[in-house]
Amino acid sequence: MPTKKEMKRQARQAKRRRRRTLLASGVVAAFALAVILLYVHSGGNASTAGGGTQTERFTGFPLTLLNGTTINTTTLKGHPFVLWFVTTWCSSCIESQQLLASEYYPALHSKGILIVEVENYDDLGENGPTVLQYTQKYGGLNQPGWLIGTAPEWVTQKYNPDEYLDIFYLVNQAGQIVGENEGLGAYLGSIIQDFSAA
């Protein structure tokens, strides 16, 4: 027969166990919710948002390249290209940059797909290396068909209104946006197929 003291102790332990289970369930539920949100947001497929049915027209913007010259990106019409907005302090951008430079750039270049890499305006207000330092360190500098530079604030506001650190668009030869997603590195392996599918 358990004493009153023992019963109290057992009740306390049961309460503590319940609280722990509740806390663990809460944390797991929050994490699961975040994963679901992420999945829903990314549409669950590769880089073609909306299953590749999106055909918004790319209107272009001025891009100041690392050598100081400014080009108008509307002149790129006739070439398919990946329009990539990066933040130089973000690790997915750094890893994507390295992946692109070491593995995927030759394949994209041989297929005539250009890469237009634009720094999110002012690195989204946080301190990071300059685009030049970033490309010197992680690759992509002076590669033909890989245009890297900065653009005015309205460009980031227009193409990245939610201030994602690493967002990209696929623009086809006709100048239509045929896909978009976040985290370029995760989609590099399927970009050539995505262009063909679109």
């Binding site: 722990r20 289970t21 806390l23 663990a24 944390v27 797991v28 994490f31 975040a34 949100l37 992420l38 947001h41 990314s42 933040t87 302090w89 973000c90 690790s91 997915s92 951008c93 750094i94 890893e95 994507s96 390295q98 992946l99 070491s102 593995e103 989204l124 207000g125 946080e126 939610d162 201030e163 994602y164 650190l165 690493d166 976040e182 985290g183 590195g185 995760a186």
Partner: protein, 176 residues
């Protein structure tokens, strides 16, 4: 003193052949999982090639977290077999803490803040600042994750010591 007791219990459990094999097999695989997981987290997707670009901090923590987590699992199994109290929540907490790096670059934060932004536009603009802090201080979360595991290991070993009379009796004898 308690720390030494904890270490002694850990070494004695790992000294048992069955638990030693379990520990060796699992710690290698868990460390390997962490080695893949930590560099791939910022993508929010499984990108195997990301391993090539992992930082030294990530390598160290992948090994430390893998070994500590398996040590805790092994001790928990031992404690459970003896009918002692064990900790089920701590490993989950630690794993979650180590996954925080996913918050730096994936759309999780902008999406959540975007939803909250419906109530206040100020919240909406916080997104890059928050992501920057997760990016800059990811190692703090790794450290926190390791600390949870160390604390849980200490708790489990204490629970084993309380549960198995020999440990405490021996300790009392040594004290006299």
């Amino acid at each position: 003193m308690r720390l030494f007791l904890g270490l002694r219990i850990v070494s004695q459990v790992i000294g048992l052949r069955r638990y030693a094999s379990l520990f060796e097999a699992l710690s290698a695989s868990f460390s390997a999982v962490y080695l893949v997981l930590l560099p791939t987290l910022p993508f929010g997707a499984f990108v195997l090639q990301a391993i090539m670009f992992m930082t030294p901090v990530q390598v160290v923590f992948a090994l430390v977290l893998g070994v500590l987590l398996v040590l805790l699992v092994t001790l928990n199994i031992y404690a459970r077999r003896l009918g002692c109290a064990y900790l089920g929540v701590a490993p989950a907490g630690s794993v979650l803490a180590s996954l925080v790096n996913a918050l730096c670059c994936t759309p999780i934060i902008p999406t959540i803040l975007g939803l909250l932004g419906g109530f206040s536009p100020i919240i909406y603009t916080l997104s890059p600042r928050l992501e920057y802090s997760f990016e800059e201080y990811y190692w703090v979360f790794y450290l926190f994750s390791a600390a949870i595991l160390v604390y849980a290991l200490f708790r489990v070993s204490r629970s084993i010591a309380r549960c198995v009379p020999n440990y405490l009796a021996e300790r009392r004898e040594n004290a006299h």
